[in-house]
Each structure stands twice: as C-alpha cells, then as structure tokens.
Subunit: 154 residues, 2 copies
DNA sequence: GTATGTGCAAATGATTTGCGTGCTT
DNA sequence: AAGCACGCAAATCATTTGCACATAC
C-alpha cells in the first residue's frame, strides 16, 4: 500500500511542487532534499517525521533520519511546509497551502483529521487581531470533536 | 518581580479556586497539590512547568519537580487547567475558564501573550464543526502577530 | 575549490517512571 | 491500616548537534 500520488502518478522524473519551491528560494538541492520534497508533495495526509523518513526510504534507502529532521525544519522555516502538533507528542507535516488557508478538525474517537477552509473565519481572525492592535501574521486552529452519528447513538 | 495575586492577597489560608475544584472532583488533597492549585489560582499569566515549580517552591520549599509534572498532568486531565504549547518547546498552563472561553494572540516580537474572547468566533467554530458532521468538544486557536505600531514604523 | 549538506552516534531537553518511604482518608 | 502520593534518580522520547566525509554550485 503506497497510494498517495495526487497527480497523474508516473511523474517519477518530474520536479515536485516542493522541489520547485525550494529552487525558487535558491536552496542547494541535494538528492535527499529532492526526495523529501517529493514525499511531501505526494502526501495528502499529515505524516510525522518517522513516517516521512519511512516514505523517503523507498526512494533513497540510505537517507538518514537526522537529515529528515534537518530538512523538515529547513522547509518549515522557509514556509513551504507547515508543522502541526495534534496532541500526540510528535510533530506532523504537510505542504503549505498554495492558495487559501486550511485548518483541521480532529476526530477524538478515531484520530482522523478532517481539513476545512472558511472565509468568514479568515476574516474574523484578521479582524480580531486588528482590534487588539496587531497585524495577523500566522495562526493555528485545531477543532476537536466527535461524529454526530456517534453522538446521536448514545 | 513576583506580582501575580489577583485576589485581595492575604488569603494565605483560604481555599483556592482550584483546590475547591479538586475537592469537588474527589481528589486526595496533599500539601503539594494544594500549593500547586494555589499557584495556578493566583497566576494571571501562562507559566511553564519550571516556573510553576519555582512559584510553588515559595510555599513549600521541599516540593519536587516530578510532583509538579504529575500534578499538572492530573489537573489537565481533570479539566481544571488548560495546557498550551506556544511554540517554545515547553508546555504552559493556566486555570481553565470558569465561564466563556478565551484564546491567545502571541506577539511575535516580544513573546507577550494577549488573551481574547469573541462570541462570533465561538459560534463560527461550532457551526463549522457541525457542518462537517461533528459536535465540537474542544479547540485550540493561537494567533501570531506583530504590533501595528511596530509594523507602521517600518 | 569552498561552502554547505549528510550520516552516525552521542548529546539535549522536556517529561515520565520505578522504587522505597511517607502521608491522606 | 491500605492505598495513593512524593522525592529521587534513572529512563524515555522526540529532536538536535559535533565531527569527519561527501557533494552542489
């Protein structure tokens, strides 16, 4: 099981979205960075470091987990990926939104993560920050909930 | 610098809000738990474990940091305090809201934390969760911003 | 060629836990 | 009296880093 390609899927040779972003930022592109960029570009979930390492291993079996840590931090600082902490101790990553801005709802029973986007919410956050005398630069919002079905059946 | 009493401040002997909450939950009350409960009841900021430990030390110099960790976790699970992670590696704590629900805006230049509450925001979060098929149980929202003054002067 | 990245293993830093003893109910 | 809670120090877990070698530009 390894189906996480969003794109037409035989682009083994194509430059991934994230690799392109790296190049635009002028990063020195190593094989390892290319692989990690590809892994994240192809992921539609929120893998933790260990999982990114595991997936990267399939393209480059010699890659070190230290490099994965270093590269994820680099990408995070460069703002091309987002780091999350959903409550379990480790950090999880995903490619940054190309457009718009999404948040997460975590199913408290299953741990499943649902993504959502809401323009009213974006406006409201900016307005709140502004009212407090701040320009909103970043934010994090995680909702935790239980499925209405589960709830009903109780 | 050690000014964190919100109440009339000579209630050394009074039962703190959090101690009362503990009692209501049927917890076994030890001197250490009483002290930690008092420290958090008197705090108006978001101390990390080390700081709670430091403040607790002034009431009970023999308290162990392991106990502080254990007690904070206990209180967190019992829902009488809230745990936060504002980006620096360590967890920060504060007494849970008695009424309403507030969030935080972190000043990216100074690290200062501003609290705010917004009813529209509460409604919107609940509505979003509901639209996704979930009942909202909990949530975390942190805004990161820079002061409009600092911004202007650039 | 030179600065920078990588692998490995050891170091860190926050938090947790096993154990023997002490305190709360 | 019996069961937790505590203090202490050792253990864990995720993440970082020093060092010698390899690689991108």
């Amino acid at each position: 099981m390894m189906m996480r390609s969003t794109q037409p899927s035989k682009d083994k040779e194509k430059i991934s979205k994230l690799e392109r972003a790296c190049i635009e930022k002028g990063m020195k592109m190593t094989e390892q960075r290319r692989v990690i960029a590809r892994v994240l570009s192809e992921s539609t979930d929120h893998p933790d470091v260990e999982e990114v390492y595991h997936r990267a291993t399939q393209y480059d079996s010699g890659i070190s987990i230290a490099t994965v840590y270093r590269t994820l931090r680099l990408f995070d600082i460069a703002n091309i990926i987002d780091r999350h902490e959903f409550g379990d101790g480790r950090a999880r990553y995903e490619m940054s939104d190309q457009v718009g801005h999404h948040h997460h709802l975590i199913d408290m029973k299953t741990g499943q993560v649902v993504e959502f986007e809401d323009e009213k919410l974006e406006d409201l956050k900016a307005r709140i920050a502004n009212d407090l005398g701040y320009k909103l630069i970043g934010d994090r919002l995680d909702l935790y909930g239980v499925s209405l079905e589960d709830e009903d059946s109780k």
